[in-house]
């Protein structure tokens, strides 16, 4: 079943004849339930804006055209505080009230820098439980109990105690675990992770990737994984789309794209990544 269907998505800053070229240019892809797609590209390729456009979080001044269709699953037995329309629906141009009901409930977001994504003045337990209070109407007490459970699921040590901590008291890896717990709280059908491990050390990155893949698999959520790191995407996603200059150049099964790229740019990207990637063997750059 197709969960997310994107067609001709175009994002531009400003309008009219003198406006600059679109930063996301006629992007299209689809994501099935439980599928994991990696969106890869260098800085300025438009990958993050694509993700933000899907969730209706574009910065002021940016406008999106085209189509973003999400099939909101009926999750039987769930009481939603903010009723959201069920079934396939267009998100672009949707009212903010509806989008706010979908974000954190049907669409979970994991950001790059958990320290800026988390509220410094709020205990992490309250932040993990917040989506449940907002979307499911949990009482303070029920949300707290759920937060302890979620903290344990994302592998935070001593969950009973750690939910009372503030973000600055945690390590970078622990903060990202909190970020993942917040995103997973309402068991979203779609998780969008924007460079979730770029700010982390390699050993922590390995743990977080394992955790994210495992939980996405257990929950059956679909994952849109945005990264500049080919090796990280290859480890996490079965399909990959390569972006450059706002466009998707090619898309396909990860191994096929890496081994036999159709576009010269993808070939260059793979070669450059191989030259400095850790392969265990010294590689030479260039001719």
């Amino acid at each position: 079943m197709t969960l997310l269907e994107i067609e001709d998505l175009t994002v531009r800053f400003g309008a009219g004849p003198g406006a600059p070229a679109p930063v996301v240019d006629r992007v299209g892809f689809s994501l099935g339930a439980g599928e994991r797609l990696g969106l890869i590209g260098e800085s300025g390729s438009g990958k993050s804006l694509t993700a933000l456009a899907i969730a209706g979080l574009l910065p002021p001044g940016a406008t999106a055209t085209g189509s973003v269709r999400l099939s909101v699953p009926l999750n039987a037995g769930i009481r939603r505080v903010r009723p959201v329309p069920i079934g396939p629906q267009e998100l672009l141009g949707q009212r903010e009230r509806i989008l706010a009901g979908l974000r954190g409930d049907v669409i979970g977001f994991v950001f790059q820098e958990p320290l800026t994504a988390l509220n410094p003045m709020m205990r992490v337990g309250a932040q993990i439980g917040e989506p449940l209070r907002i979307h499911r109407g949990h009482s303070r007490r029920a949300a707290r109990a759920a937060a302890v459970e979620l903290a344990a699921r994302v592998g935070l040590p001593d969950p009973e105690r750690i939910v009372r901590a503030y973000p600055h008291q945690l390590s970078g890896g622990q903060r990202q675990r909190v970020g993942i717990a917040v995103a997973l709280a309402c068991r979203p059908a779609l998780i969008i992770a924007d460079e979730p491990t770029t700010a982390l050390d390699v050993t922590v990155q390995a743990e977080i990737l394992r955790l994210l893949s495992g939980l996405v698999h257990e929950e059956g959520s679909a994952l849109l994984f945005i990264s500049h790191d080919l090796a990280v995407v290859a480890q996490t996603c079965e399909r990959v789309a390569v972006m450059r200059g706002g466009r998707i150049l090619e898309e396909g099964p990860t191994l096929d794209v890496l081994r036999d790229p159709r576009e010269p740019y993808t070939g260059e990207l793979v070669a450059a990544a191989r030259a400095t990637a850790w392969t265990g063997v010294r590689q030479e750059i260039g001719p």
Partner: protein, 262 residues
């Protein structure tokens, strides 16, 4: 075999932590605990470690920007004592640094020709500064005419080239790079690494590259030092340490690096 160029022995540096009790003794964080290091002429040494391993503290000590609690840093046998800029001028001519983020290490209001010439002026290097600027800009693959432009007019990769040109201007023997390619896109990264490797072979430059990225260190360095928790976990020729890690921490680090499927 060439002799030692930059040498550190028994470096210790600790910082006081914020007080947790009014009366109790103040606790300290031991950022660097007994690190020895030797950089031989014409060699490239990679210092690898994760956040909190003591990389930045070690780097500050090696550059004479901070005074060790114990131990010393010597350059060709002469002790590097942090003090007034004038007392270290001899050292700055020999050892230069390239930092991670070129945008924040270049003055946004200074034309890059002037920025590249600055170490020549401040270190009192004799000779035609304009000619030297043109020379180093050409060496990093930029047009000498670009000297009239401002940092924001360049891409991230070009800015890092400018930072390298500035570091090379006073003809140092040692270039220290603090994560010199981490802020760059992968395709640009390969070119900058290539450029640095070129200076080692053609100019006899020696490198210290501080990085968390094992691929970068493997590509550029012949010697490697693995820093963990302020101490040296393992050291030796890059090929040996990275192919046959002996220390459990090195193994854990190597296992964690994401690999591209072949």
């Amino acid at each position: 075999m060439s002799g030692p160029l930059l040498e550190a022995t028994g470096l210790h540096r600790s910082y006081p932590l914020p007080r947790t009790s009014v009366t109790g003794p103040r606790s300290h964080r031991h950022a660097v605990r007994g690190v020895d290091l030797v950089l031989t002429e014409g060699s490239a040494l990679g210092v690898v470690g994760e956040s909190g391993a003591g990389k930045s503290t070690l780097l500050r000590l090696l550059l004479g920007l901070d005074r060790p609690d114990r131990g010393s840093v010597r350059y060709r046998g002469r002790e590097v004592r942090p003090g007034s800029p004038a007392t270290l001028r001899w050292f700055r001519r020999e050892v230069q640094v390239v930092l991670q983020d070129p945008m924040s290490s270049l003055d946004p209001r200074m034309r890059i020709g002037r920025a590249v010439a600055q170490p020549l002026r401040s270190l009192g290097v004799p000779g035609d500064h304009g000619a030297r600027v043109a020379e180093v800009l050409a060496a990093v693959g930029l047009e000498p005419e670009m000297g009239g432009r401002y940092p924001h007019e360049f891409s991230g990769g070009q800015r890092q080239r400018i930072a390298i040109a500035r570091a090379l201007a006073p003809r140092p023997k040692v270039l220290v790079g603090d994560e010199p390619v981490s802020a760059l896109d992968v395709s640009v990264r390969a070119r900058i690494l290539d450029l640095l490797a070129g200076f080692v072979t053609t100019e006899g430059l020696s490198l210290i590259i501080v990085s968390h990225d094992l691929g970068v260190v493997r590509h550029l360095c012949d010697q490697v030092l693995i820093l963990h928790d302020g101490t040296v976990a393992e050291r030796g020729p890059a090929a040996g340490v990275l192919d046959r890690p002996a220390h459990p921490y090195t193994r854990r680090l190597l296992d964690a690096v994401p690999r591209l499927p072949v």
